[in-house]
């Protein structure tokens, strides 16, 4: 059932290419604005500035992309899902789908940053793992929040208010480990933080799994 729902989300996304293209354009414009701002002063982009710009871009792209995961659904279609499937498989398929979408967007963002601003990352493999873990964290926490804000109506403002405090713990870990990658400190420096991120992700996914049926019912 999860795979079917996942395929459904994926096909919908492919059919409405404008949404995905919009997100990519959003990412592109943000990276391009960063480039234009610093164009003549490349030496101003210290590794820390790079990391700040990168995570701001990724955070807002992730919030924008995941916020629409329940907004797009029509009222009647929700009742149809309710009658044919369990809420657990819906939330798991959405998390999985958002995880893929989010990591895809993060990697495209990374490529755009390499293209426009440069690549100060020294431990590229660890940085890849950080991007994957952060996308997983964003997907698991923001999917539940987007379903809450979709129920509450005025979605965009509420989504930002609700999500900021929840994703900040994941983001803090990501920024800290990114700094280690920028300095090329290797595995030993980041190992604890990576494990903590994984643990936070598991915790948040488990809580979403348990709580989603109650949102779905109302």
């Amino acid at each position: 059932m999860i795979t079917t729902l996942f395929k459904k989300d994926f096909t919908l996304e492919l059919r409405q290419k404008s949404v995905a293209a919009g997100l990519l354009l959003y990412l592109f414009s943000t990276a391009f604005i960063c480039y234009l701002t610093f164009r003549l002063r490349q030496n101003l982009i210290t590794p820390l500035v790079w990391s700040a710009l990168f995570w701001i871009t990724i955070l807002f792209t992730a919030i924008n992309s995941i916020a629409k995961s329940f907004m797009g659904e029509k009222r009647g279609r929700e009742i149809y899902y309710y009658s044919i499937t369990s809420p657990v498989s819906i939330i798991l398929s959405k998390i999985l789908y958002n995880f893929l979408l989010c990591s895809l967007l993060s990697f495209s963002g990374y490529l755009l940053f390499i293209l426009f601003i440069g690549n100060p990352i020294q431990d590229k493999f660890i940085f890849t793992i950080i991007i994957l873990l952060t996308s997983m964290g964003f997907a698991s926490s923001l999917t539940l929040l987007s379903s809450i804000s979709a129920k509450a109506g005025n979605s965009t403002v509420l989504m930002a208010v609700l999500s900021f405090p929840v994703v900040i713990s994941i983001l803090l870990m990501a920024i800290k480990t990114t700094k280690n990658c920028l300095d090329g400190m290797g595995w030993d420096a980041s190992w604890d933080e990576l494990l903590t991120m994984l643990a936070i992700n598991c915790l948040i996914t488990a809580v979403s799994y348990l709580l989603f049926p109650y949102i779905w019912r109302s």
């Binding site: 809450i148 509450a152 609700l162 900021f164 948040i204």
Partner: protein, 224 residues
């Protein structure tokens, strides 16, 4: 009288805390000096806040299992009381930090974590405010409450301990064992914690009773 023993206990414990906290002898330490007495007022705020939020989360879980309005009211009012304790904890901490660290807001991981933890609960009240359907407000509020509590635990218990911090009890600094070399401070500290927590429960229970009375009045007016 017997039913209210804990309210009397709270008053007596807090009187004892104020008198003993300001008059008893404390260890003399460099930099900290007499500000060490803030320990009796600053630290119990966090104990109180965590307990209030824990009770609020427990009642949110109870609401999801058994949707009665009472469980929702209890959950909201304990979150309110916890928020008050958290704000007081931040303010007392800022006063203390002003004397020992040199500035009220030092960007310490523990300060930032506490501020974010309060943001979570402010967002909880924003969410409740933006929903008009009572049943939906209670249900979504309960879900966010549980979710926020799960997200807050790593913030205030794990992250500050992983980073270097000047706050006692994190980054390898000892908790308050550093201060009470002669264990004298424990004689005031533990009663202070118990007294403040009882006061918090008292505040919350009063608010719950007023809320239920208001609802009762509304119901009577509807029938009349």
């Amino acid at each position: 009288m017997i039913k209210n023993w804990w309210k009397i206990a709270s008053v007596i414990l807090l009187l004892y805390t104020v008198i003993a906290g300001f008059l008893f002898s404390v260890p003399r330490l460099v930099i900290v000096n007499e500000t060490i007495r803030a320990l009796y007022f600053h630290v119990p705020m966090w104990f109180g806040m965590v307990i209030m939020f824990l009770v609020s989360t427990v009642y949110a879980i109870r609401y999801l299992r058994n949707s009665t309005p009472v469980n929702d009211v209890v959950s909201v009012e304990f979150a309110n009381a916890g928020l008050v304790f958290g704000l007081l904890g931040i303010f007392t901490g800022m006063i203390w930090a002003n004397y020992t660290w040199g500035s009220p807001w030092h960007g310490d991981p523990k300060q930032n974590g506490a501020a974010i933890a309060l943001l979570v609960y402010l967002a909880y009240f924003v969410l409740r405010g933006s929903l008009s359907n009572e049943e939906q407000r209670a249900r979504l509020g309960a879900v966010y409450n549980i979710f926020a509590f799960a997200a807050m635990i790593p913030l205030i218990f794990i992250i500050p301990r992983m980073t270097s911090s000047m706050h006692p009890g994190s980054g390898g600094n000892p908790g308050f064992n550093m201060y009470d070399l002669d264990s004298k401070m424990r004689m005031v500290f533990y009663p202070a914690v118990a007294g403040w927590i009882l006061l918090g429960v008292w505040i919350a229970s009063l608010r719950i009773r007023t809320r239920r009375l208001e609802e009762h009045i509304l119901e009577l007016e509807d029938h009349a």
